[in-house]
Symmetry: C2
Subunit: 358 residues, 2 copies
């Protein structure tokens, strides 16, 4: 027999084998195999200025402006799972939230690619690369670093929480602060969810991951698009919607009052058709505290519990996981980039598997 | 003999073989093998507000603001070439410029990844995901679509140039217009080149691709960082720097006057140590015209020719390629996303090979 050929194949295989991490192996650190990647804008409006455009003496007359779209960057792994994951960032953030962690590890973008999901990262309308807003805004260099440190529960400035899942090197904090990017137009959950629904028209059925302020636009997206087949909400911070006539009381806190928002019952009921999970992290009490950065989350967790109850009372399938209650400690507001983000991703993967979304 | 094992290997190999496009095969369309990818901020400043921060009654007092950094997304292919390529966008744009073309094909990001280069895409300070500016700005929805159509040489609104390398489907033009994103602070070539030099400190020796307005900050980056080992400038539109005392006359045009800018001779001479190539596209005359969108490029091409001469007179290695002169026709201002962008990439690859930059 001639063994030359198999031996050659073995050698070739050796140089290739690292490029296909086994599906579902969350510890995979080899090369990523990307079937396709790219970016596009979707949704938005076109605004026109009256008058006639003069090519050689142009003013704004007779010209148009394209704005209020979102921007998405997508990657499809080889042999992708059927449902893509669309990740929507929170306030003061962009798709950057889901990329490399502040301390330089892989974020949810790459972790879930490794787990076989097509991943779409969004810059919402009027943020980041989707900066063209149909409504004007002034961008000020507002110094909020210390407020962010407190409110995003790294600690109580300038001390970190003892168990915090955040690397304490100064360059990590620098990267964290530099992930901030401003609104280029007024924040508008309707505009955002319109564009997100247009994105789900394009992607087809998929899963939505929302973070923080994106909680609200996330629910609205699922109301507007039947292609949202499940929601993973990381520390939703705004837009707790309830059926008209079923609103719980407002919740005052040291960080202001959190108000529930009414929607028609028929819209609310659309959220009862899909599995939803909400996660909150650590280092805030369930009883009122004068500590502003922590009390902000006390009321959000409390309101989210009522929200989950309301969804389930209307026949839905929602659950809330307060991570310390299951022994997962030290998480900041940024669950997806915390030091234990692989553990968080594992919890999410388990949810997706249970709900047949993977 | 038992052939079970080799057969199994063959089957495994079949499922893997597509994941490694042959290096240097510019027509490769198979999966991308990414060794590593991620993002970070680099450069910038920290601004402090006087006073004492009160955690529970926060104002801006005693807080800091991180801004004026750039944002970079990078991908390293398997078996990368030694020099990464850093791509810097032009005015009204972001890293989006280098991604998917408006008609949905691969842009320079993925094309050059396929050719084995590590690729870094930048959102410059005060743009896109690097929106935190230390100086305030107002963002207005200025309707400029028709002006862009003319000035970026798609045609003379609303007619396309006959030979234009731009797909004429309405959805392509829609994507093109939606790649626009505004400044979130005053444009400042010094701020941009400071951050770019910090990026090259991080990447080590590399190649800079600049587009349009990035031409100027590109030269300044190479003056500030010895790690810039070559520059590919696509239709530089601003920042034509000459040694003090050697400035050519200003060049009036139907789109305004283009003025050369003085720099110390010692700085200018730093640009004579690296190979530089400049490309301009089609559909503008070399004699004055009343057509604003075209005359804008007449003076830029003329100034770029003088600039190349000045670099070479000082012992440098610069060249200018006016694409129609070598038979490459129909290119807009966006050479890297035109219909013939693979042909443009081939020209660039040839330059990089000739200069031993690949």
């Amino acid at each position: 027999m001639n063994f030359a050929k198999p031996v050659l194949i073995l050698m070739t295989l050796t140089s290739l084998v690292a490029c296909a991490p086994p599906p579902g192996d969350s510890s995979a650190t080899g090369p990523l195999v990307i079937q396709q990647q790219g970016s596009f804008a979707v949704g938005g409006k076109v605004v026109s200025t009256p008058g006639t455009y003069d090519n050689n003496q142009p003013t704004t007359a007779g010209q148009t402006f394209h704005g209020d779209h979102l921007y998405a960057f997508y990657q499809l792994p080889q042999n992708p799972k059927p449902l893509p994951i669309v990740m929507l960032h929170g306030a003061f953030q962009s798709a950057r939230s889901w990329e490399t962690t502040p301390d330089g590890r892989e974020g949810f973008q790459t972790l879930f690619l490794r787990r076989g999901f097509p991943v779409y990262l969004v810059d919402q309308p009027r943020r980041g690369r989707a900066g063209n807003s149909t409504v004007a805004a002034t961008v000020e260099p507002t110094p909020f670093d210390q407020l962010f440190f407190d409110q995003f529960r790294l600690g109580k400035w300038l001390n970190y929480f003892d168990n915090v899942q955040f690397d304490r090197k100064p360059e990590t904090l620098d990267q964290f602060f530099r992930s901030v990017t401003p609104n280029t137009g007024p924040y508008d959950a309707g505009v955002i969810s319109d564009a997100m629904a247009a994105l789900f028209d394009k992607t087809g059925p998929g899963i939505l991951f929302s973070h923080s302020q994106a909680g609200g636009p996330g629910w609205l997206t699922a109301i507007k698009s039947q292609n949202v087949k499940g929601i993973v909400a990381l520390e939703p911070g705004s837009g707790f919607i309830f059926p008209e006539g079923e609103l719980p009381p407002e919740m005052p806190s040291a960080a202001g009052t959190l108000s529930p928002e009414p929607v028609p019952l028929a819209d609310f009921e659309k959220l009862t058709r899909i599995p939803i999970v909400i996660y909150y992290g650590d280092n805030f009490p369930t009883a009122p505290t004068a500590e502003r950065g922590q009390d902000n989350w006390r009321v959000r967790l409390a309101m989210a519990r009522l929200w989950v109850d309301a969804i389930n009372q209307h026949g839905g399938d929602a659950q809330l996981v307060h991570l310390p209650e299951i022994g997962v400690r030290g998480n900041t507001h940024f669950l997806m980039s915390d030091l234990n983000n692989v553990e968080i991703a594992d919890l999410v993967s388990k949810f997706l598997a249970e709900k047949h979304l993977d």
